[in-house]
């Protein structure tokens, strides 16, 4: 099997419009949460979110850097975030000057969990108020989930696999895992892989609140709302943004002298076969995915140094933790485990990809990011290093990244440092 390594990173998050700003703020223990500014949230049960900041903010995102103004007007924000994060990753990997022949071996696998909900909501109102003749001709392709991949391939001329995963909150992890397999199976030499999401709109917030998935008691204390493993947690905080990695066949990367961040060594997938929104109460599906990833990586329970948990700040946190304990051991085999959703919220289809980038940076800098707001750890967390409040310096050579989604979909990815 061909080996697959990571050679480029790109991020748009509530903590920064690029990789280094997002990472620096994450390690500093900053929170990306605040009152919703994207629309007037009056009447909503939840009025807070982790929004990507505008370009005037010190952590802000400037869409004009990499996305044509005409495209910005035609498409939903998740596509703009995705195009930018892909551009960052390609620049980081030094892949902007490929020949036409090389471009035939470059593919994209950038998905989303929901896609262009803000645009669907807006055009639906437009249709009902002003009639079908006023619906934008860009409505459909400006909202479709596979149009991050589509836009990126058109922009850069890539003619390899054109793929987009839709597995709710597991999308980002599945996108990277599937793309790694495409390289391993010789479908491509390079894959631009990740996830993007932006559903901070009235319908998105109301929908998740009605599904009882969002927090509703912290509207006056937004930075304290996302508190994975804490006894007072009561729902996730909606985030938005995109994470993209460049995956490359190992020999290909070595031959061109590319900077190699990590190797993707394990990928596990499973289904809960239990409920549309609730995880299996014993975390059976999560356990299956983790075990499969470990087996593929050829690692034992004591070999993982850091687990980036799915940990959304819901009741499911402790179900995941129990499953991780069963796989890695009562003390997690010495691994630290944190939920970065405590700082950036839940990016849904973007989550797994953004968190994969954080895992890679943890290995680069030998530091693990914190779980914020963990003041009263829930039962079952005793003896586990959940990295409360502050980032922690430690050896990080192998990481496990978990993502689980509505519909009972689970994905685990293992990445390791390459010596």
């Amino acid at each position: 099997m061909r080996r697959v390594v990571v050679t480029g990173l790109g991020l748009v998050t509530p903590l920064g419009g690029d990789v280094e700003t997002s990472w620096k703020n994450l390690i500093a223990g900053e929170s990306g949460a605040g009152p919703i500014t994207r629309f007037e949230p009056e009447g909503q049960k939840c009025t807070i979110a982790c929004e990507v900041k505008g370009k005037d903010h010190p952590w802000g995102f400037d869409p004009d850097k990499r996305v044509d103004g005409k495209i910005q007007r035609q498409v939903d924000p998740f596509i703009v975030y995705g195009i930018d994060a892909a551009g960052q990753a390609l620049e980081d990997a030094g892949l902007l000057d490929l020949s036409d022949e090389e471009k035939e071996r470059v593919g994209c696998s950038i998905g989303a969990g929901i896609g262009g909900l803000p645009g669907i909501e807006k055009e639906s109102i437009n249709l009902h108020e002003r009639g079908p003749g006023r619906v934008s001709p860009h409505f459909v392709h400006g909202r479709l989930i596979n149009l991050v991949t589509g836009q990126v391939q058109i922009k850069y001329g890539f003619m390899g696999p054109n793929h987009a995963v839709v597995t709710a909150c597991s999308t980002g992890a599945h996108s990277i895992g599937d793309a790694a397999r495409m390289i391993a199976m010789d479908d491509a030499d390079i894959m631009v892989a990740g996830g993007a999401e932006s559903t901070i709109n009235p319908l998105g917030i109301a929908g998740f609140a009605q599904a009882r998935a969002l927090n509703t008691s912290f509207n006056d204390r937004p930075t304290e709302a996302s508190r994975p493993y804490d006894k007072d947690r009561e729902g996730f905080v909606m985030g938005e943004g995109a994470g993209v990695v460049i995956l490359e066949e190992y020999e290909h990367a070595k031959a061109r002298g590319a900077k190699i961040y990590a190797e993707v060594t394990g990928y596990g997938l499973s289904g809960d076969a239990y409920h549309v929104t609730a995880p299996h109460p014993e975390g059976k599906g999560a356990e299956l995915a983790m075990r499969m990833a470990l087996k593929k990586a050829g690692l034992g329970p004591g070999d993982i140094d850091y687990v980036n948990a799915h940990g959304t700040s819901t009741m499911a946190d402790t179900i995941e933790l129990a499953a991780v304990k069963r796989v890695l051991g009562e003390g997690l085999g010495g691994a630290s485990m944190s939920s970065t959703k405590s700082a950036i919220g839940h990016l849904l289809g973007g989550a797994g990809a953004v968190e994969a980038v954080f895992c890679i940076l943890a290995m680069r800098d030998q530091i693990v990011p914190p779980t914020l707001n963990l003041h009263n750890p829930d039962e079952g967390t005793e003896g586990i290093d959940l990295v409360p409040h502050k980032a922690k310096k430690r050896e990080v050579k192998a990481v496990l990244n978990n993502s689980f989604g509505f519909g009972g979909t689970n994905a685990s990815i293992i990445m390791q440092k390459v010596d």
């Binding site: 044509d68 103004g69 005409k70 003749g133 006023r134 934008s136 001709p137 860009h138």
Partner: protein, 78 residues
């Protein structure tokens, strides 16, 4: 330039993201201004909105240049 021509030019600049000096009355939307078929649908909708006119599909198909659009609008508005 007539008032209509000025307003048409402004809409084209905004929607296609092109320099205003390129948006002459003779300029072809597709050949000179880089528009595709969807951009033209969007432009026609913007003209309808701005001038309160209706541009039927068969008329829209005949609009190839900025001048064609200006002429159609001026004639329709009488």
């Amino acid at each position: 330039m007539s008032d209509t021509a000025t307003r048409v030019q402004k809409i084209v600049v905004e929607h296609l993201g092109v320099e205003s000096d390129k948006v002459t009355q003779e300029a072809s939307f597709i050949d000179d201004l880089g528009a595709d078929s969807l951009d033209i649908v969007e432009l026609v909708m913007a003209f309808e909105e701005e001038f309160g006119v209706e541009i039927p599909d068969d008329a829209a198909e005949k609009i190839a240049t900025v001048g064609d659009a200006t002429k159609f609008i001026e004639e329709t508005q009488g």
